[in-house]
């Protein structure tokens, strides 16, 4: 097969940034392949795609798309490529058909060719029944499908997709993936940028970017091969798996550790001889079981391992709650007009538990979360935190909880330090205690170099760190985290969970929402929310067991989620 795109020594700098966004990247993209473009936020994925599309001018190096230079021969290149940016320009107030018409007009597709193309695209995306619906009223997954259809009104040779699966539920994600693989059968070359490493695993080739450097270029299986024989699961842990993980993470033989339901998953060092399970306090019954490596294990290995330091929150002051039930949800229901965003959601969260609200965007988990934290009034039902309803609670009750919103919600015009000071004062920290706690947060979250920078200008990882710092500075008893790791690279995600686990060990109760289903593994118990309903509740192991079948004896959390959703749909539809 021939190379469709050839890139030589590509470097791109942006003004006012010390480091280049891309540093001498050279690679070839073969025609008919799906190429996965992976890397944390800010690693240069979007810059890379925009350079190929001719939307940016390279500072050094060259790009060749089918014999043309994207900048000098913009017209020829544009005729050959389709680019779907992260936020595709759908007009939310226009219907599906009107959006398609608009893009067809822009691309000069008329007459019978237009009719045939529309039929094919609507059939292909499954949007045919919804042509009259406003684009704004579509679900996240359908919007992405419509975006894809609009990008494909003229069949391109090269399709550039920038994180098409962000904000899309797991089922739609799989459909989107199937649609795109069908395109490659027709000979279209696809570059698929993604933060989901499981998607990258399915690509024929992956390009891994890290801070502007291309650190891997090859087949995902080759990358996974570098960690072959080094990935293990500790099964049969006695006692707290969080404690075992924390000990293991800091062990010299361990590169990375995560929680997987009631087990701990470890990536061992290349020259690690053996790991004594007793040395990490796993108990007598614990066994080390080799498992097949995943792309993420290899990715973490490639970037030098996970978060291995001790969380500064470990050994903090113990919260002494007088009650065993920290959070109660009783028949929580919320209507927006005639739309039921959450329906009859009930559960209890015990003190010191990590409780997950899991589900795709728009499923109702944020609505439930907001009702719990007192931000949204339930249409019926009630929510109690430590025995009080936060909507009517005294200011003192709110002082005992910490809240980290999904969107960055600190003051962007204030510096890091000013934000810390503001939240310290609002939460009643004064004098010496204020200084101590602020200093501890700065140290814990490595904010020292960023103190005078406007928080709005911080890189995403630091924004999230600062948000978490502001939420936990006053040592809350109950911590609400809404998508805390959304858009954060895998290593920072591990760091966050190390902190959260350390706080939980101190008796803090954590309510967390996430759409990263593998993160649900960290929860003690999780509620699956889908279309406003709580479709399952249990420990990760229980949820997986519910979904296990003869064809899928060891489902991942995502498999379990999809199986449970399908089961629910089969039960509810007549």
């Amino acid at each position: 097969m021939t190379a469709l795109v050839t890139i030589e020594g590509l470097t791109k700098r942006f003004p006012k940034q010390a480091e280049p966004a891309l540093r001498s990247v050279s690679t070839q993209i073969r025609s008919g392949h799906i190429v996965g473009l992976v890397g944390p936020d800010g690693s240069g994925k979007t810059t890379f795609l925009r350079l190929i599309a001719g939307l940016l001018r390279p500072d050094e190096g060259g790009i060749d798309v089918g014999g043309f230079d994207p900048v000098a021969n913009a017209k020829e290149v544009r005729a050959r490529i389709a680019y779907m940016p992260q936020r595709f320009g759908l007009y939310e107030d226009l219907s599906v058909e009107e959006n398609l018409n608009l893009y067809a007009d822009l691309r000069g597709l008329v007459g019978s060719a237009r009719k045939a193309t529309f039929e094919r695209l609507l059939d292909f995306t499954g949007l045919a029944p919804f042509t009259g619906r406003l684009a704004g009223a579509l679900s996240g997954g359908m919007k992405q499908k419509l975006g894809l259809a609009c990008a494909l009104v003229v069949t391109p040779e090269l399709l550039l997709l920038d994180e098409p699966s962000v904000g899309v539920d797991p089922i739609s994600r799989r459909e989107l993936w199937r649609m795109v693989s069908r395109l490659t059968d027709e000979g279209i070359t696809v570059v698929w940028a993604t933060a989901y490493l499981d998607e990258a695993e399915k690509c024929e080739t992956v390009l891994v970017l890290s801070e502007g450097d291309l650190i891997f270029d090859g087949r995902p299986t080759d990358l996974a091969a570098r960690v072959a024989g080094r990935v293990f699961l500790i099964e049969g842990i006695e006692g707290d798996r969080r404690y075992v993980l924390n000990r293991a993470r800091q062990h010299e033989a361990v590169m990375d550790g995560t929680i997987q339901a009631s087990h701990v998953r470890l990536l061992l060092n290349e020259n690690a001889r053996a790991l004594s399970l007793a040395s990490i306090g796993a108990g007598d019954e614990a066994r080390l079981k080799p498992v097949a490596p995943r792309f993420e294990d290899a990715f973490i290995d490639l970037i030098g391992g996970g978060f291995r330091a001790e969380s500064p929150f470990a050994g903090g002051s113990q919260r002494s709650h007088d009650i065993a039930i920290a959070v109660e949800a009783r028949g929580l229901t919320r209507m927006f007009g005639s739309f039921t965003a959450a329906s009859e959601i009930s559960f209890d969260v015990r003190r010191g538990e990590v409780f997950g609200l899991i589900g795709p965007n728009g499923a109702g988990k944020s609505t439930t979360f907001k009702m719990l934290s007192g931000l949204l009034k339930p249409t019926s039902g009630e929510a109690r935190i430590a025995g009080v309803d936060l909507r009517t609670a005294a200011s003192e009750a709110r002082a005992r909880l910490g809240y980290m919103a999904q969107k960055f919600s600190l003051y962007g015009d204030l510096s890091t330090m000013q934000n810390l000071r503001f939240f310290a004062r609002v939460y009643g920290l004064t004098g010496a205690r204020q200084r101590t706690m602020i200093a501890r947060m700065i140290e814990s979250f490595a904010l020292t170099d960023k103190l005078d920078e406007n928080s709005g200008q911080l890189p995403l990882g630091f924004k999230q760190r600062l948000s978490l710092a502001c939420a936990v500075m006053h040592e809350p008893d109950v911590l609400f985290l809404d998508e805390p790791t959304s858009g954060v690279d895998p290593r920072t995600r591990r760091e966050f969970w190390a902190h959260i686990n350390a706080m939980v060990t101190n008796g803090v109760t954590v309510i967390v929402t996430t759409h990263f289903l593998d993160e649900a593994e960290y929860c003690d118990r999780a509620a699956l929310i889908y279309r406003g309903q709580m479709i399952a509740l249990g420990t990760p192991a229980e949820l997986k067991a519910q979904a296990a079948s003869s064809t899928m004896p060891n489902p991942t959390f995502e498999d379990a989620f999809i199986a449970l959703v399908e089961k629910n749909e089969a039960e509810t539809s007549p």
């Binding site: 907001k370 934290s373 007192g374 931000l375 949204l376 009034k377 936060l390 909507r391 200011s395 003192e396 709110r398 002082a399 909880l401 809240y403 919103a405 999904q406 969107k407 960055f408 919600s409 600190l410 003051y411 962007g412 015009d413 204030l414 000013q418 000071r421 503001f422 939240f423 004062r425 609002v426 939460y427 009643g428 004064t430 406007n454 609400f480």
Partner: protein, 368 residues
Amino acid sequence: MWQRIYALIVKELLASARDPQTRWVVLFSPPFLLLIYAFAITQEVSDVTLAVYNQDHGNASVELISRFEVAEVFDQIIHLRAGADIAPTIDARRATLVMRVGEDFSRRLERGESAEVQLILDGRRSNTAQILLGYSSRIVETYNRERLDRLRATAPVRLVQRTWFNPNLEPLWSAVPALFAVLVAVVGFMVSALSIARERELGTFEQLLVSPLRPFEILIGKSVPALLIALTSASAMLVLGMLFLNVPIRGSLALLFFGMVVYLAAIVGIGLFISSLAKTQQQAIIGLFMYMVPAVLISGYATPVENMPDWLQGLAAATPITHFIVISKAVYLREAPLWLYFSHIWPMALIAAASLLAATWLFRRRTG
């Protein structure tokens, strides 16, 4: 509690000071606007073209026309030859007014009868037309008086004018106090109306709601900085007005500032009320303009409140701008008696109390 309010005030002030756009819009642009508007609304008329259609050939008409010719306001004089030229001249804006002198003008005057001069004005430029009418009447009046003097006769009634508080009828003197009141309101409105809507839009508001801050604490923490910022901007406007516009301040500055604090409390209350209603900054701005434009129009800024129908006067009294324009004029142009200040301060205090309470109430309701 005080620490929390203090934290919020410090945060608001820092945020405004650190954002270059806010800094410009809120602190620097209003004084700048004061200068621009002040010069723009200057009511002096100059560069006017006068068209003359003289059918009379006597001395009297030539003398009268020459008086118009030497008047400074008429920059250019064109002479028309036929009555049919009058309409096109006005239509095409070649002249703002046409003076027509009838053919028997001189003859009638010589016979001791009264004669007529016709002035045709361009009503499309009504303001200019009115001013020019005044000028022209004065020229004709002077002409009459001097003619009577020459005949050793006296006019039966002679008018002697004196305008108090603004003896030279300086247009800026009447414009600046009202403009000052409106611009202070604009700053207060902008800062307050955007504040909550902005936080709501950015998502920071939820962060405040889950914190120990109580609704009324948030409200105080939002009002005080808005008030301080508007006061700073107002002080800058006062200084500029004195330095560049030469508008004197005759009354007590202390009373002005006292009145302004009450005024701004009312303005900020209304702004926060609008802000609590809005979901986004855009909605807040639209809401603000829907209130502000009519409020300014009925406030007596452009037309006197006394000329409005009763129901509109009632509405005007519920608008803080109406009251502060009176106070502002009182301080600028004279030393008004104390009762006058207080008769306008208490209604503003009432509006402030009502709007702040309404904002707090709305704010509780809108939180979910």
